[in-house]
């Protein structure tokens, strides 16, 4: 007699290892996905493959020399890191930054935000399977701004241009004209990306309602930057805790409503446009004058104090917490990197979605591994 078989087949969850060499993890990020069929049940992120000890290195040298390590944390928005660090040192040493330096800093930071967002818009296309098209479009426009940075600072990626107190040297004479010539191209490039992706039905299907996070959850996870604003929370350090000279410009903070991938894409696209508005206004107001304070000490020696300064980086709040016990070196330098804090919410965003969307969700967080691991 044939024994009766059980008809219900047994299902098991499979662990899938993704990274650290996977091209769509935006660097050396590893996540272990547990999947049930096509659905993601659990995500376990592994970081630390790119840890270079930037905080510790900055503690071992004087305030001026450590500027080179600030670029190397968030290497797609370098000027913002430099500004956060310089602001911390300036607050500690009570240095007054000249007007002209503040304006040049704002112009470069906002252009940097545009390059960073162009990088996101391009790479997001790849994550959705738009292979290469949007990526090359984004890079084409990014390159023009990169050329300005190269003319001004001399380097293409690791600028090391800001100094505690001001700037390393003045901008070239044709700087204003150079930026004005590039702005129309950048606007056109953003328009191209807008036409290419915003109304595209394939993009809409892949992004709308995926990886959504409510406003309350976003705040609880400590998200910041475009991710938080996509969820509808009106929080931008440039407006809410004005630093530098951001209170002198007229611009809008774009907000999303659903907090899904599509909103994150739109928020970044609009933010890049608003940054261009700030650049235009700053160029109009750019004053003449010195770039370093008159009474600049030759050796930077800080008092015994603690300072925390934060800037609105391209990915969120980039903060520098600096503890000084006197002397010319920081006792402790802590970087509050937005990528790391935003990445912590990856599990909540991903669980329940399809495997293919996991890559897109990770892409929408727009992490920079140099910033996560520091």
């Amino acid at each position: 007699m044939v024994q009766e078989h059980e008809l219900e087949p047994e299902t098991v969850d499979i662990g899938v290892n993704m990274g650290p060499q996977h091209p769509s993890t935006h660097g050396v990020f590893r996540m272990v996905l547990t999947i049930d069929g096509e659905r993601v049940v659990d995500v376990e992120p592994h970081i630390g493959y790119m840890h270079r000890g930037a905080e510790k290195l900055s503690e071992s040298m004087d305030y001026r020399a450590a500027i080179g390590f600030q670029d190397r944390t968030d290497y797609l928005a370098q000027f913002m890191n430099e500004q956060a660090y310089c602001m911390a040192v300036e607050e500690l040493l009570e240095l007054e930054v000249p007007e002209r330096s503040e304006y040049i800093r704002v112009i470069l930071c906002e252009l940097n935000r545009v390059t960073s967002h162009l990088m996101f818009l391009g790479a997001f296309g790849i994550d959705l399977g738009y292979f290469g098209t949007s990526f090359t479009y984004g890079f084409r426009e990014r390159e023009r701004i990169q050329d300005i940075f190269e003319e001004v600072t001399g380097d293409r990626l690791m600028y090391a241009y800001f100094r505690p107190g001001g700037l390393a040297w003045d901008v070239p004479d044709n700087f204003v004209q150079m930026v004005r010539d590039v702005l129309p191209h950048t606007r056109q490039g953003l328009k191209d990306l807008d036409l290419l992706m915003t109304q595209n039905e394939i993009v809409a299907v892949r992004t709308k309602g995926i990886g959504a996070m409510s406003a309350e959850e976003s705040i609880n996870w400590g998200l910041s930057g475009p991710l938080l604003r996509a969820a509808g929370v009106d929080w931008d350090l440039r407006k809410d805790k004005p630093y530098s000279i951001y209170d002198r410009f007229d611009y809008d903070i774009p907000l999303g409503s659903h907090g899904d991938l599509f909103d994150r894409f739109l928020v970044r696209l609009e933010e890049a446009r608003q940054s261009l508005c700030i650049v235009e206004q700053a160029l109009d107001q750019l004053p003449d004058g010195p770039i370093m304070p008159e009474k600049m000490p030759r050796r930077l020696r800080g008092p015994e104090a603690e300072v925390y300064t934060a800037v609105e980086g391209a990915r969120g709040e980039y903060g520098v917490y600096l503890v000084s016990k006197g002397g010319d070196k920081p006792y402790r330098l802590k970087m509050r990197s937005p990528s790391f804090c935003n990445l912590s919410a990856l599990r909540d965003m991903t669980v329940g979605s399809y495997v293919a969307d996991a890559v897109a969700i990770l892409g929408s967080i727009d992490i920079v591994l140099g910033c996560v691991d520091r």
Partner: protein, 154 residues
Amino acid sequence: MIGIFKSMYITFATMLRTPVTIEYPAKHRDVPQRDRAFPILLWDKEVDEPFCTGCHACERACPVECMTVTMKDNPLHADEKSTRRKIVDEFWIDYGRCMRCNICVEVCNFEAIAMNNTWAGHELSKFDRNDLVLDLQQLLSQHKQDKIDAWVAE
């Protein structure tokens, strides 16, 4: 469907544009005057000796410790040809360690060191890592032969 046609329109419009890329190894784009490749030493043509006095300022300020400098008495000063009492004896820079932060140029009191702003400073591929450690003669040769118009901020 409209959205896909818009995307296709952008793609076709871009197809007709002139390319923006340069075929790199065959063609080189111009590097700006402020371009920062790797540090080199400058040669004082009037006295026929390096500007560098070997004062260790750059060595102390370097965040990655890529420099080694030694100092000696200047023989030309004894003959009263030079105003420099001391002069650089040996100078090594490890280009493999250098992170091109420009701090050595800023701390130099004699404007003796500058960043290489030519293509020769970027194309440095070597088979052996030790070949990236340059000595005094190699560091001076570029400016000595007038191959560089060095830029140093005031």
